[in-house]
Every structure is written in structure tokens, then in C-alpha cells.
């Protein structure tokens, strides 16, 4: 999706419509600000949290966890893919395990994760790794299977080693699958992270954006709560549209590999 002036205008109009409906609804039905705070007080809360650096600080922490989780998860998925490529039995076993674990929400693992990994940063990273690993592995495997037989013949004709083939041909040929997997991985890990931070709290000074939401909730700062939700939405869609948009434009769109 490209960010054109038109799509920007549309986005602004949608925002405006939401604001009008929100404020209009508040006025017409005389809604308590504890339930629906005014747009201005939400924005001023957001401004305060931005100015104090708190939101950025918590976001940075959240992103460091996601980065670590996606890094480890991706590394493990590649490793599992390589192992699966060596042995059919291993690939089948992994397929079965993946079908069992893939649908399991990371947050459901929290009690076990606490038992095994304690309650530090590690626990949240483990939950993110879980959210990232299975969709990525599933997509990598599908991508690997989809590599054209012709490429294999070309690779052998050019006397390429398995490693060279994997890096120079199989990897770029799989980019659409890798990106699709990363998109799912990002969406799942962003959700898992925020749930984990909200339940878990991590450590107050470094609680991430989920902790930010949680503290607004327990201290009943509804405007702050909505400000936090706004940030979660904006960051989510920013990564989705800007980061993934950029990567896709410079790879699969450019290569005509986007289906």
C-alpha cells in the first residue's frame, strides 16, 4: 500500500469522523469522562507522556524485547528449517509439533514460562519467541517447498554448494514467504508483548507500553489509558504500513514477486 496524498486525506477524514462521533456522542449522551474521556484530555495526556519521555522510554523497552524475540525466533526458525531439510522424519515431527503449538497463544504459556524462566525480561522474550517461531517456521517451510525445481537444477548446473544455493537462490526466492511470516510474527509478538506486559508488569521502570497501560488502568487515569491505546494502535499500524511497506516496496514489489 502506498502512502499517496489521497490515502493520507482519507486517513485524516476517518480520524476526523471518529473524533466528531466520539465528542458528539459524549455531549449528546452526557457520558462520564471516567468511561469516555474527551479527545482533548486524551491528547493532553498523550502530550504529557510524550514530553516526559515516558512513552518513548517504555516503547523503546518494548521494542528492544520484540527485537530480541524476533531475532532469536528467526534464528531458531532458520535452524529448524535446516534441520528439517536434512531429514524427512525431523521435518514431519516438526510439522506436527508446529500444528500443536502454532495456535497456542503465547500468553497461555505464562505460568509455565514463569516456572522455567523466572519473571525477568527473559520470560517476556520467551513468550515473544514462541509467538514468532511457529508462524515463521511454517512460512519458511512453505517457502522452501515452493522454491522452483528449475532453481535447484540451475544451482546444481552452476556447481553451487548447498550453503551457496541457500544464501544466493533459496533465500531470495523465499522472500515473499519470509515477509509474510514476519508480518504474522510481528502482529502476534506485538499483541503477546502487550498482553504479557499488562499481566506481568515486568519491572516498573522498564515495563514497556503494556505496563504503561496497566498503571493508567489501576490508577484509573482513563485519559492516559486512551492515550496509551492510541500509541499502541499508531505504532502497530506504523510498523505495518511504513516498515513492512518499505521493505516490500524495495523487494517483492520491485521484483514482481508479490503474487
Amino acid at each position: 500500500m502506498k502512502t499517496t496524498p489521497r490515502s493520507f486525506l482519507r486517513f485524516a477524514l476517518v480520524l476526523l469522523a471518529i473524533v466528531i462521533l466520539w465528542e458528539g456522542g459524549r455531549a449528546v449522551f452526557n457520558v462520564s469522562p471516567l468511561v469516555m474521556p474527551g479527545v482533548l484530555s486524551v491528547l493532553s495526556s498523550l502530550g504529557t507522556a510524550l514530553a516526559s519521555g515516558e512513552i518513548l522510554h517504555q516503547l523503546a523497552f518494548s521494542f528492544s524485547l520484540i527485537g530480541m524475540g524476533i531475532g532469536i525466533g528467526a534464528g531458531l526458525a532458520v535452524l529448524a528449517l535446516i534441520i528439517g531439510a536434512q531429514s524427512r522424519v525431523a521435518a514431519e515431527v516438526m510439522g506436527t509439533v508446529a500444528s500443536l503449538f502454532h495456535p497456542l497463544p503465547g500468553i497461555a504459556l505464562l505460568p509455565v514460562v514463569i516456572l522455567w524462566f523466572g519473571v525477568g525480561k527473559m520470560a517476556i522474550v520467551v513468550i515473544i519467541v514462541h509467538s514468532v517461531f511457529w508462524p515463521l517456521l511454517t512460512n519458511l517451510q512453505a517457502g522452501y517447498r515452493s522454491v522452483s525445481p528449475t532453481y535447484h537444477l540451475v544451482g546444481r548446473n552452476l556447481e553451487m554448494s548447498p550453503t551457496s544455493f541457500a544464501v544466493r537462490i533459496a533465500a531470495p526466492a523465499t522472500v515473499p514467504y519470509i515477509l509474510a511470516g514476519l508480518r504474522i510474527a510481528w502482529a502476534r509478538s506485538w499483541r503477546a508483548l502487550i498482553s504479557a506486559e499488562m499481566i506481568f508488569g515486568a519491572v516498573a521502570a522498564h515495563g514497556g507500553i503494556g505496563w504503561f497501560l496497566h498503571t493508567r488502568r489501576v490508577f484509573m487515569d482513563t485519559a492516559g489509558l486512551f492515550a496509551g491505546i492510541l500509541v499502541v494502535m499508531l505504532v502497530g499500524s506504523l510498523v505495518e504500513r511504513v516498515v513492512f511497506g518499505f521493505v516490500e516496496r524495495s523487494t517483492i514489489d520491485r521484483w514482481g514477486m508479490n503474487g
Partner: protein, 337 residues
């Protein structure tokens, strides 16, 4: 024509979104308008939220014995188990709850933000304790910034008690705020006892007993020491405006009497009641007896410590509304008689 469909989808999306918002608004309006609750909930239903823990035992007895239903013929009593005070608060704001039980500080935070809810009874005093598995930690002073302290959530009674102790000992109520870990009691106990990174846990019964019974644990701070006296652990709170009319008053009176009956049954160690509670908390009857025999676990409708909590939480900056007056926070005795 790859652009056509997204366009249409987005237009549809705006429409659906507007619809959702509109519906949400109408729903909220019903919840919020002051005279609405009686219209919203049929007269025959009262919705009560409790939490899990030994301190809620009289409620459990009222529920399982049908004591309240017996006193309110024609009224359906809906019992709801919620995980924390925030959930109770939100359910009340949404107009989905009439009565909830919680610690005093979360109640005060709501009142501070303008919720016109009121305490109508005390439920229990209970032994709370900050328990550690680290033999090197013998007192609060031994806790270094690397140590992690688990408690239910910021703004909980455990958090405020810790702040009070820390204010008294170190002149800084926020000294431990950057090493708090928000965990539900069962998770916190697991983490503490399995050595999973929790140095200390501010526990309530039954977890406080279970943790102290485990090897190598010790209490470094009791709730009573922290507070500097006796205080009510759990209070009953009526949702805003509930109790202003005769129907609400009748419900609260009936609940008060039912609770008194339940407390008496527990006090007498009624064998059926004890067996029921043992089943509820998943411990042998003998163990439950020992829990109940703890002299600090007292079921009483008296409300103690509300004023002191109001004072210190204002001092610590958790409450900012200067207009909070004790008499506005409690439903007066006459109302309930």
C-alpha cells in the same frame, strides 16, 4: 483494478466503525445516566463481585448457603468472580455490577477520580506479610535495587502498605517502586518458591500461610507493622447511587445480616461450613482450621483504617482530590439499619 476493492473496503470500514461507536455510545449512556440503573437491571437482580482469597470466606458462605437469596425472596443474586479491584471498578462504571469487595486503596483511587461509590461494610482483617526466600534479606533495609518485589498491582493495598513502611523507615514512599513486579498471588507464590526471580512477595491468606510454611521463607514485614495498627483488609463497596433508594438499601441491609450470619458460622467452626470452605480453597479441613485459628484473621463488619489510608495516599500523591471526606465515602449506619 487493484485499488478499487481497498477503497470500497475502507468506505465500508468507516461505516462499520461509525456504527460500532454509535452503538457503544448508546450503551454507555445507559450505564452512566444516574437514574438508569434501576431501569437497566431488573429489580429482581443484584450483581455482586468477589475476589479469590481466604479474606472473602464469609462471602463464599453467603453464596454457597444461599443466605442472601433467603432474605431477598424474588431477587436473583448473581455472583461474579473478578481478578482484581480494577476489573470491579470498570464493571461498576459500565453499570454491570451493584456491589464489589476489595481493598481500601483501590476504592479510594476510584473515589478520588470522581466515582461516587461508597463503602457499606467491612469484611475482614487479615495477616499480610512481605515474605522472602533470601536468607540474606532480614529486613526492608536489606532489599537492594536488584531485588524484585511481587505484589498484585500498583495502587493495591500491598503497594500502599509497602510505601508506608518505606516512608517510615527511609523517608521515601517510592523507594521500591522501580522494583515492583505485578503478579497475581498464585503466580507470585510460584515464582517466589521456585526461585524464579522474585525476592519477596507481599502475600495475603491463604498464600501467606502456604509461603511461610515452605522451607527457608521468612516474613520481613507484616501488614500491621507497615500500617502501624489494625486496618480492614477487605471492604464491601456499593456502586455509585446504589443504596440511595429503598430497594438498594434493602439489598445492602440483607447482605449485611447475611454476612453477619456467615461470620458467626465461621466463628463457631460449623463443621459443614468449614468442610465447604476447605473444598473451596483446596486444602484439607485440618489445614483450614489452622488458617482460621490465626488470631490476625478476623471477620468483622467494622471498618478500620479508612481515614489513615486516605491521609497517607493523599500525602504520597496517589490521591489528589482535596474534596474527599470520610463521611462521603461510607454509607452511614442509619442508612443500613
Amino acid at each position: 483494478m487493484p485499488f478499487k476493492i481497498p477503497n470500497r473496503l475502507r468506505t465500508g470500514g468507516v461505516f462499520v466503525l461509525s456504527l460500532v461507536i454509535a452503538l457503544t455510545l448508546t450503551d454507555c449512556s445507559r450505564r452512566e445516566s444516574p437514574n438508569a440503573p434501576s431501569a437497566d437491571a431488573p429489580l429482581s437482580t443484584v450483581r455482586i463481585a468477589e475476589q479469590f482469597g481466604l479474606a472473602y470466606a464469609p462471602l463464599a458462605v453467603v453464596r454457597s448457603r444461599g443466605l442472601l437469596e433467603a432474605r431477598l425472596p424474588g431477587t436473583e443474586v448473581e455472583w461474579i468472580q473478578l481478578g482484581n479491584a480494577s476489573a470491579i471498578r470498570e464493571a461498576m462504571l459500565a453499570g454491570r455490577l451493584d456491589i464489589g469487595f476489595m481493598g481500601i486503596p483501590p476504592f479510594l483511587i476510584g473515589a478520588d477520580k470522581g466515582m461516587r461509590w461508597r463503602v457499606f461494610t467491612g469484611l475482614s482483617r487479615a495477616p499480610l506479610a512481605l515474605i522472602t526466600t533470601d536468607p540474606a534479606v532480614r529486613s526492608l533495609a536489606d532489599l537492594t535495587p536488584e531485588h524484585r518485589i511481587a505484589l498484585p498491582q500498583p495502587g493495591s493495598i500491598q503497594h500502599i502498605l509497602l510505601s508506608m513502611a518505606s516512608q517510615r523507615e527511609f523517608g521515601d514512599p517510592n523507594r521500591f517502586d522501580n522494583q515492583l513486579l505485578t503478579l497475581a498471588h498464585p503466580d507470585a507464590m510460584t515464582a517466589l518458591l521456585s526461585g524464579a526471580g522474585v525476592t519477596a512477595h507481599f502475600a495475603s491468606p491463604p498464600y501467606v500461610y502456604e509461603e511461610l510454611a515452605a522451607d527457608g521463607t521468612q516474613s520481613i514485614l507484616s501488614g500491621r507493622e507497615a500500617f502501624g495498627g489494625l486496618f480492614t483488609f477487605i471492604v464491601g463497596v456499593a456502586s455509585p447511587d446504589f443504596g440511595d433508594d429503598t430497594r438498594g438499601r434493602a439489598v445492602l441491609q440483607a447482605l449485611g445480616v447475611s454476612l453477619a450470619e456467615a461470620m458467626a458460622l465461621i466463628q463457631q467452626r460449623d463443621s459443614t461450613v468449614v468442610a465447604e470452605l476447605a473444598g473451596q480453597y483446596g486444602v484439607p479441613v485440618g489445614t483450614l482450621q489452622i488458617y482460621l485459628d490465626n488470631p490476625e484473621l478476623i471477620y468483622t463488619s467494622r471498618i478500620e483504617g479508612l481515614g489513615r489510608f486516605l491521609e497517607v495516599m493523599t500525602e504520597f500523591g496517589y490521591l489528589t482530590n482535596q474534596g474527599l471526606r470520610l463521611e462521603n465515602l461510607v454509607l452511614s449506619e442509619e442508612v443500613l439499619r
